[in-house]
Amino acid sequence: MDWLQQLFNGISLGSIYALIALGYTMVYGIIKLINFAHGDVFMLGAFVGFFAITRWEMGFIPALITAMIVCAIIGVIIERVAYKRLRNATRIAALTTAIGVSFLIEYTMIFFRGATPEAYPKNVLPEKTIEILGAKLDYKIIFILIVTVILMVLLQFIVHKTKIGKAMRAVSYDADAAKLMGINVDNTISATFAIGSALAGAAGVIFGAYYTRIDPLMGVLPGLKAFIAAVLGGIGSIPGAMVGGFILGIVETIVSAVGYSLWRDAAAFIILILILLLKPAGLFGKNIREKV
């Protein structure tokens, strides 16, 4: 049952894309900015997790939480330092800045530690396999899937049930009206960056534990793919980012599995082109509301 195994591989790759895509979509939803530095926060998360596991000898879960906290702080700093002052600037200025921040993070990392890759220790997650319907299933995959689902449920809970989540939805719908409710828009935007970056950090540690190899430029391609996933799901839509991430992961894995592994990356970009041509609002996208 080879296809089943491929499906599970696709799902674990998809969880990583989905976790990163959530940050893209949340930030876009609230300040209409494509935060191109988001993939690099994912990379930083992978490195924080790596140090937590190898230097401070933490287990997977404590390392994951550490990376999430550190990335949340980094995300808030990025927003406060680079984006906040551009809130009333043109979108292209903010976008250019985001690309600049991305390069800054990548090359600062290379400057301080070099470009050599690191390898996560093999035994971070249990190396067992179990058999389901004849397919050999890595224990790792189940573990990753459970962690991803927990994080997504937690996110849904925060966004729909807590005060800060309601503030986030209000600000993303109408920032001025939110101010009139007494909502502090700056703090709400910071919270959005914190949550989105924490999810990217989690994705980084999961990536490291699963694929083992990490390096300072590892965020570039997954960052772009997650962006595609967010567009595919409908940028600004949280369920859209989750579904888009899983679809993209599964499609890529299938493309490799049928023997076109060189076309793997191209598949993602073809999806982007198709979605922009056929359904620019994405699968879960709302009709864009013109403000008068």
Binding site: K166, R169, D176, A177, K179, L180, G182, I183
Partner: protein
Amino acid sequence: MLQVNNIDVYYGNIHALKGVSLEVNEGEIVTLIGANGAGKTTLLKTLSGLLKPKHGTILYNMQQIGGKPAQGIVKNGIVHVPEGRRVFANMSVEENLELGAFLRKDRDGIKKDLNRVYEMFPILNERRKQLAGTLSGGEQQMLAIGRGLMSKPKLLLLDEPSMGLAPIIVQQIFEIIQTINQEGTTILLVEQNAHMALSIADRAYVIETGRIVLSGSAKELQESEQVKAAYLGGV
């Protein structure tokens, strides 16, 4: 309660308010009437902290609030129900009302006020789980006012509550405004519908191209030839 002294407000390069002064006393309904683009909304946005005055002072209970951030002003009890209602269309009626109480921590008080709003607007109670975007214009206006009341206003700023509504609904909204006032909330009402506004107000100001050109008791203005000609259809 509220004293606006000689404020100038700019939208970029446009000088939108030119030396505007006005006063609202506790317990009153004061209305500000004027044509489209005269500066009515700009004035309310300045009072609620969305815009900053360049010159002049805004005193609320003898404290300067001009240029302070919006959330501090809401906390002080000045609540702005914006033009065009601006309800959160992607959230339910009840979530909208809860957002009105965003800064409050008194759970019991919030519960009580929620019931009071539902009593005042029974239709909102029927539609509490419905998305705000699916409500009719009149219902959205009720929701916007209800949401404002959830912030526990001492001074309620209403921006064109009659806009785009059928006369019978306008009648209903204005009755509710009077009820809110009788229950102890001071009201500053901005309207294009001068006739309705003057009929419930104690005092009124007329604004034209960023300047206050007339003021007086609502009765006086209702009888003024100038107001009749310009805003009451020349009757």
